[in-house]
Amino acid sequence: MTDTPTSDVTIDSKDASCPGPLMDLIGKVKTLDSGTVVELQTTERNSTTDVPEWLEEAGHELLEIEERDEYWSIYLEVN
């Protein structure tokens, strides 16, 4: 059992097709301060691999990926 991080910002990208959720995230992260915790909600399975890869590339921290009933919540911290 892991603790779900508390997010400062939630991005609802449910129903957006690839690469929508990742692009929503990239667009938003640009505007956020370092230390902000973000929850990205996505129904697109590819996001669970594409998003962590981008976070590594761009130097932000992946905190947690939670599978919910109808979507995934990807938690990250902006660096």
Partner: protein
């Protein structure tokens, strides 16, 4: 009188107005129905032509016709800008009118707006071929460009015509080869996510072709800033790339009209992807680039959506229950150089298959571009 209002006389609005004029001809002639098209620009612009302008193959004039020539005489045409949509009172405000217009059914077909200003330095340091002025300026620049580093960057996603950045890159490669300049020009193509295109099959196809032609590819490349003085582009990911000629697919946004009316953030109308009805209110539809549906912002999409919405609106105008739906059908030609092309076709959730490029498909694309004017009129 049942009043149908369409805002925007681009591909979607024009095809829709002409379809409705034909489907509801009796009701219009009997004075029971009015189809009104309100559009800000007295000219209809066929944007795919702009892809050929930088290479001197087409002119901006080729892309433009007076909208009056394309619209069925049963449509009431109003050249004006719609400044406000009041969905509580079913009324539209217009820039040049003191009184507002009532509608029973409204279709927003306001397209996409280019927003180069969203990225610092892009308007000053970058070129594009997504509008008339940009395409002409790029033509002049390319004509003088004999050596150096040409970077084609997809800065904004979503953008009009998902094929265009790949097409431009393959075309410029071929064009420089034809002119004997390719050896002195390095070409780099960049894309924001971890592959060369949003659609996986196009990404695979383009990556192979780029490799064959010695075109460098940079992925996870999200442009943050351009320094026009030192000719350097910086990304959110921390990459820096020097360029001599920077060609961008600029960021796009929808219409303020849509955002102000509470119909969708960023100016794209939130709609049901099958009925194309706005989710926030009744009696409003969106088609074309303005509609937020999970497929490409392409003319073919606008065209198919116009057919579906014409059927739904005509049914409702006659007091029947609409049944037509849109399944995401999208068709795109893809130029693979200056004289060969391929073609893709897909629906929601499908991955397109990219056929082997051929000369006949290139001529088919050029032929379609010519016959487009008949399509817009509703004749094809």
């Amino acid at each position: 009188m049942h009043r149908i209002a369409i805002v925007g006389g681009g591909t979607g609005g024009t095809v829709l107005a002409n379809r409705l004029a034909s489907e509801l001809r009796t009701e219009i002639e009997d004075g029971e129905v009015e189809v009104r098209l309100i559009t800000a620009d007295p000219n209809h612009v066929y944007k795919p032509t702009f892809l050929y302008v930088p290479f001197g193959k087409k002119t901006v004039d080729d892309a433009t016709r007076p909208i009056e020539e394309l619209i069925d005489s049963r449509v009431t045409l109003t050249i004006d800008e719609v400044t406000d949509v009041n969905t509580d009172r079913n009324r539209l405000s217009l820039a040049d009118r003191t009184t507002s217009l009532r509608y029973d059914q409204l279709v927003l077909a306001t397209g996409a707006t280019l927003e180069p200003e969203a990225v610092p330095g892009l308007a000053e340091g970058g070129h594009h071929f997504y509008g008339p002025d940009g395409a002409e300026a790029l033509r002049d620049e390319l004509a003088e460009f004999t050596e150096g580093h040409l970077v084609l960057s997809v800065v904004g996603v979503p953008h009009m015509c998902p094929a265009a950045p790949v097409e431009f890159t393959l075309m410029v490669d071929d064009w420089l080869r034809e002119r004997g300049r390719r050896a002195d020009v390095d070409i780099t193509y960049t894309y924001p996510i971890n592959r060369a295109h949003g659609l996986e099959s196009i990404a695979d196809w383009a990556t192979d072709r780029f490799e064959e032609r010695g075109i460098d590819v940079e992925t996870f490349f999200n442009v943050d800033e351009i320094d026009p003085e030192s000719e350097v582009v910086e990304t959110v990911e921390g990459t820096e790339l020097e360029y001599d000629l920077f060609v961008a697919i600029p960021p796009h946004r929808g219409s303020d009209l849509v955002a102000d009316a509470g119909l969708g953030d960023d100016g794209w109308v939130d709609v049901d992807r099958h009925t194309l009805e706005a989710t926030a209110t009744e009696d409003v539809y969106a088609i074309g680039d303005a509609a937020d549906v999970p497929t490409s912002k392409a003319g073919s999409v606008a065209h198919y959506e116009a057919g579906v919405v014409a059927d739904r609106i005509a049914s409702r105008a006659r007091g029947q229950t609409p049944t037509a739906t849109y399944d995401g059908k999208t068709v795109c030609f893809l130029e693979a150089g200056m004289d060969e092309a391929t073609f893709i076709e897909f629906e929601y959730g499908e991955e397109p298959y990219v056929r082997e490029p051929s000369k006949p498909l290139h001529w088919a694309k050029l032929g379609y571009n010519e016959s487009y004017w008949l399509t817009a009129r509703g004749l094809l």
